[in-house]
Symmetry: C2
Subunit: 385 residues, 2 copies
């Protein structure tokens, strides 16, 4: 059988910058990045898409952004700044996607130009996808404004929108040109968003970095109380761990099945869905981490002391560790636990779940004992109160 073998590597690289008050005219972090990309021969263009929730909390922000970007040499700012209502709903409506595609077209954003998304993870997921499919991929810059997007979603390589009620059904892998984490935005976050965003740090510390977990144990009260320098450190360390996994894990575009960073997530995804997203992602993951840590303990993989340390950090962050949907409902199975079967199918037939061998060390398992899982859920309920 005759064939020609094709084979090549594509190199992807980008920086995640950490700064404060990014659009202060004296802050050259963003402008210096852009100016380093300028070309003498022609002007590149910039199109800004802003999260309405961020704009509402920061009066005058749009004007400040425009003023800042108009000074950048070698770039022309599109006259229109697009403001979209932020939050999950922005990912539910295809017309939002096409309004961005139309704006990219109208403002002549070509493959040399940049779309800049400023907002929470939901808005960034939408903007990244619109950029990825226009002209087979125009460059995008992310400026995440929530804890979750600064420490996890915004520093990764995925984007996506929901389609016909299916979470992230449409999307792609498209690394950003750069990411700018500005802690100043975080001051106006809703308390639930502030706290629940920390869960990804707990998660990644538990599977990868015991000293980071110990640091969070010490800092939990301060973090929960709004200590900004502590939050900046949490975000930096958490982002670094996520980036090291993506860049160093050998499978940045997830062609295999292993998902170590999804520790605590199998039940969380189901809980978010079953509660119609009234649980924040981080709150659901907090419950998922508690459940899978207790299960790891019942398996004998971690001892009770370690399990209690995990539960106590989550409780110190004022996060839930149990939900009534984990119980049997009138003799019917718990809809979350029943979701394990769905998850197996979603994985293509073989179940792979991350558990803990120790604080700081994740490990995978391919079988979950349902009785033991119900027992773990009961223990979470008792520890919750």
């Amino acid at each position: 059988m005759e064939y020609i073998q094709q084979q090549f590597d594509v190199n992807f690289s980008f920086r995640v910058f950490f700064s404060r008050d990014l659009f202060d005219p004296a802050n050259t972090c963003l402008s210096a990045f852009l100016e380093s990309k300028a070309e003498a021969a022609f002007q590149k263009k910039l199109l800004v898409v802003l999260d309405g929730g961020v704009a509402a909390s920061h009066p005058g922000l749009a004007e400040k952004i425009s003023y800042y970007l108009m000074q950048v040499r070698g770039f022309r700012l599109a006259p229109e700044m697009i403001t979209l209502t932020g939050g999950e709903s922005v990912k539910n409506d295809l017309s939002q996607l096409f309004s961005l595609v139309d704006a990219i077209d109208q403002h002549g954003i070509d493959r040399h130009s940049y779309v800049i998304g400023i907002g929470g993870g939901s808005l960034l997921d939408l903007v990244g996808f619109a950029a990825a499919i226009s002209h087979r991929g125009v460059k995008h810059i992310r400026i995440p404004t929530t804890v979750l997007s600064q420490n996890d979603s915004g520093v990764g390589v995925k984007n996506g929108i929901n389609y016909k009620g299916k979470k992230n059904f449409l999307g792609s892998f498209a690394p950003p040109a750069a990411v700018f984490n500005d802690s100043t935005f975080l001051a106006t976050l809703d308390g639930r968003d502030w706290r629940s965003g920390m869960v990804e740090a707990v998660k990644v510390a538990l599977i990868r970095d015991a000293p980071f977990f110990e640091w969070m144990e010490k800092k939990a009260e301060a973090l929960t109380g709004g200590d900004m320098p502590a939050m900046e450190e949490l975000i930096y360390r958490c982002a670094a761990l996520h980036m090291a996994h993506i860049g160093g894990g050998g499978d940045p575009f997830e062609s295999g099945s292993a998902r170590p960073l999804d520790f605590g997530h199998w039940s969380a995804h189901k809980l978010e869905q079953l509660t119609d997203f009234s649980l924040r992602h981080g709150e659901a993951v907090s419950i998922g981490i508690a459940l899978d840590s207790v299960y790891s303990c019942l398996l004998g993989w971690i001892d009770e002391a370690a399990m209690l340390r995990i539960v106590n950090v989550l409780k110190a962050m004022q996060l839930p560790i149990w939900h009534p949907l984990l119980q049997k409902q009138d003799d019917e199975p718990s809809p979350v636990i029943a979701g394990l079967e769905e998850f197996r199918e979603h994985l293509g037939g073989q179940l792979t779940v991350s558990l803990l061998r120790a604080i700081g060390r994740g490990a995978e398992i391919h079988h979950i004992d349902l009785d033991m899982l119900y027992k773990a859920a009961d223990i979470c309920q008792k520890l919750q109160s």
Copy 2:
């Protein structure tokens, strides 16, 4: 300024197979490929999208395909085979895209499963794009059925659809899992599609491979007359050259501006558009190659003998080398030649056009003299008659 550097390589590899009568139960080319991807633990799924023009020319084809694929071990064929009217129009309608996305959802095509597109370049561009955005990319296999798609578009890494009249405005870079070129399909091609598909071979030979060009000079009559073994050789050599460029050129996803494979294409794209696609892509490129070869000759880059050899090959393939739209229209500039300015803007401000230094050697230029270009067009008109 603090930052974390992200950086990784993603490896892409796939094979382009050359075969005949692919769905003959005795032909294991496709089934062996699929079975090599089977997993003991679970069944993978297959969804077929077939070009209606191909189906119409090959009675019984859908049944033959179903019968063949149902025998493949480890795979389950979706009960529905999707047949879409082929040709450019399939790329003009967003509802076609979403009908495929819906089918991928309904038939449970996950990231382990395969969508198989069978048809011309237009259908393959649509199928590849639908696969690329579903679940952040499900695998797709291409079975191209035209000369153009077997020697050029189908063996590359791009896909796309038209949006609001803009050619390929939406799309992505998404390499296929494999490509199967089956020459049996070509026997039913319309004569214009058969002939115009050869132009990409002339193009790539002119910029890269003088012996291949000489071979085509010798074989032009036979090829034009329908000699299938000659066509198979042309397709193999042309596909190999395109693949070597993509795999070995250092920029498979086209992040830079150089497009050596677009020799003859700047005017061709404009001609296709101005004639509302009544010119085939290859016919328009034939005119574009003639124009840019004559221009190369006027510049003194190639001699007249070489220029005439090029024109004569195109004429022997019964392809046009001139179009009235290359002339001034009532003292207004030629709309094709005026398009050069648009093309410069499209490139972001700096013009880059491929010309010829010799038969087999392309070279780039950043300035085109309009008077000389009109003169080249006049010469093409004379040579045409």
